[in-house]
């Protein structure tokens, strides 16, 4: 190895290390600060204690907001899985002119336009429908935003199922709904699991949409409630924020581990026996 190559390689590794530290520091803060006696914006452990947890668990907003988060995320995941499964099956099997273009356009629009840009029209629409400050309306809005990508992901799974499976069932007299229930849905289960977890995570971390569409504090999910942890002087309450953040991220990590163990994450279809 020439010195030139060596120096180049050392440079690359140093760069990678710096980048890793840059991204790891916030995570380190997230893990350390909740156990600290004097939480601050620094990622240090000066005196270990569980006082922060004690204080948090006595905060009435914690359980309520987590329940709201579960309701919003779970509801959205269910709506997205069910609708995306049906839609992707139909889109995969029915020939419509411009089908792929439609799918790409939806995907593009949903990833660019929803969120901030669409907030005003969505707000107005819900206002006119008298759906403001209703959690199921938030579920619908969130589902709408996630569906194009979910359909796109699931369609790949449905595409990979040979048509002969369905034709075989048809010759034996199975109805379309039986084919869907007995054959297609079981075969795309790994895809549905992936889409479900992905939707949960998306909603769990979504701040803007519930913040704008829900005005009642009691209906706000955890992501929004965290925003309110300031003391009377306007200073951020590091103890509450960090501890809450840790408690808030645990369910998602656990969920990820469970699903990964059961199905393995797959973003592309493939039939395995």
């Amino acid at each position: 190895m020439t010195p030139r190559v060596m120096i180049g390689r050392i440079g690359v590794y140093v760069g990678v290390c710096l980048a890793t530290v840059f991204f790891a520091l916030p995570l380190l803060w997230l893990v350390l600060t909740p156990f600290s006696k004097h939480p601050s914006y620094k990622a240090t452990l000066d005196g270990v204690s569980l006082d922060n947890f004690d204080r948090l668990f006595h905060n009435p907003q914690l359980w309520r907001s987590l329940r709201n988060s579960i309701y919003l995320a779970g509801g959205t995941a269910i709506v997205v899985i069910l609708t995306a499964a049906l839609a992707s099956y139909a889109l995969s099997r029915v020939r419509i002119p411009g089908r792929d273009q439609l799918l790409y356009a939806l995907l593009l629009l949903s990833s660019i336009v929803t969120g901030t840009a669409a907030m005003v029209p969505i707000f107005l629409m819900l206002y006119q429908l008298d759906l403001l400050d209703k959690q199921f309306a938030v579920v619908l809005v969130l589902s709408g935003g996630l569906l194009p990508a979910a359909v796109f992901m699931l369609k790949d799974f449905v595409d990979s199922i040979p048509r002969s499976y369905e034709e075989s069932a048809r010759v034996f007299g199975a109805s379309p709904s039986q084919i869907l229930r007995h054959i297609v849905l079981p075969l795309i289960r790994p895809g549905m699991a992936t889409v479900g977890v992905w939707s949960l995570v998306q909603v769990w971390g979504n701040f803007l949409i519930p913040f704008i569409l829900l005005s009642d504090d009691k209906k706000q999910p955890a992501a929004v409630v965290m925003y309110t942890f300031y003391d009377t002087g306007g200073q951020p309450n590091f103890a509450l924020i960090s501890t809450f953040a840790l408690v808030y991220s645990v369910p998602v990590v656990v969920l990820y581990l469970i699903v990964n163990k059961r199905y393995g994450f797959a973003f592309q279809g493939g039939i395995k026996g």
Partner: protein, 358 residues
């Protein structure tokens, strides 16, 4: 059990392609019937139309004298085995075999018992709890067959049933399938592109080309008297020699050599008729010494077929192939004489390719 009758059946796709183009065919009750043809000839479309997976554009399909043309696949009482077997990967072998019964609303215990019994008959008894992916190719095929048999359909439809098996297994499966069909006695239609398979298994067969039937008959009839040059070319392990000739002075003139007129055709052709002379390579006898009424030519290639040898001979402007016993293998470049077995010669009209017949 039932006969199958196709009346002027046609299937035209929206893009204008007529995959099945006016087919009249009657398949007798209990018959093992082969649809044979090159890829793209419409044989699979025909089978799928029979199953109800494609809707016929014209004509009618009768199964057991009942018009099923407009019926959905599930009401036709047929069972189909697909080329890829279409076993459901998330179900066990037993669940797969019992699936059609589940659709028909048979109670769980009864359908499991019936499925297990059918599986036992096909020596799948020890594999019932396996998933399809854990089976070998031959076992998968038997599982797919068991699934079709367990519903006791009136007609079996097999789409290329042997093409996913390796060569040795294919021979075994061929014998197995033929025996199975004989013992069940269920009318069976199977599609294949392999002429040897059709000849070996079928009671009767139809040779198809461009959506039409070119010949229907028993394997023996189709092999010995192909009705036209298409069938003649398609049937047989080594293709039939098809040589252009002109009738002259009650003999056949090939441009470079002449052969005597086969006795059977003396009354059927006249001087000046353009014909195609058809003779299987197996029916030429090779000699290294001069013979009368034989083709004289030079050996250009010799291909070993095992117990026999395929010899290609250039004679005048024609290329003639002969299959000869290994003992008679000529050397390259040698001059040889090929004597035809004149009772095996077939003459086709040069214009439409049909067999010259009385």
């Amino acid at each position: 059990m039932a006969s199958v009758e196709l009346q002027a059946l046609a299937k035209q796709y929206p893009n204008g392609v007529r995959a099945v183009d006016g087919i009249d065919l009657t398949i007798a009750d209990g018959e093992f019937f082969a649809l044979l043809g090159p890829s793209g000839c419409g044989k699979t479309t025909l089978l799928r139309t029979l199953a109800g997976l494609e809707v016929a554009t014209e004509g009618a399909i009768l199964i057991g004298d009942e018009d099923v043309t407009a019926q959905p696949p599930g009401d036709r009482d047929v069972a189909m085995v697909f080329q890829d077997y279409a076993l459901f990967p998330h179900m066990t072998v037993l669940q797969n075999i019992a699936y059609p019964l589940r659709i028909k609303g048979v109670a769980r215990n009864e359908r499991s018992a019936r499925a297990a019994e059918t599986a036992q008959g096909l020596s799948l008894g020890s594999l019932l709890e396996r998933r399809p992916a854990q089976l070998s190719g031959g076992q998968q095929q038997r599982a797919a067959l068991a699934r079709a048999i367990a519903v006791h359909p009136r007609v079996f439809l097999f789409d290329e049933p042997l093409s996913n098996l390796d060569a040795r297994l294919r021979l075994e499966a061929r014998t197995f399938l033929k025996k199975l069909q004989q013992s069940l006695g269920v009318t069976t239609v199977f599609v294949t592109h392999d002429q040897a398979e059709a000849l070996a298994m079928a009671d009767r067969m139809a040779v198809m080309d461009s959506g039409r039937i070119r010949q229907v008959g028993t394997p023996r009839e189709v092999f010995q008297r192909p009705a036209n040059t298409f069938v003649a070319n398609f049937i047989g392990a080594t293709p039939m020699n098809l040589l252009d000739a002109v009738v002259a002075d009650a003999a056949l003139e090939f441009g470079g050599f002449t052969l005597p007129m086969p006795p059977a055709y003396e009354q059927l052709v006249r001087d000046g008729d353009k014909v195609v002379y058809g003779l299987r390579p197996e029916y030429f006898a090779l000699s290294s010494t001069a013979e009368d009424e034989a083709v004289r030519g030079e050996v250009t290639t010799v291909e070993n077929l095992g117990v026999s040898v395929l010899v290609t001979v250039e004679a005048g402007s024609q290329t003639v192939r002969a299959v000869v016993p290994e003992a008679d293998e000529p050397s390259l470049g040698a001059t040889v004489w090929l004597r035809p077995a004149s009772n095996r010669v077939l003459l086709y009209r040069a214009d439409d390719g049909d067999l010259v017949a009385a």
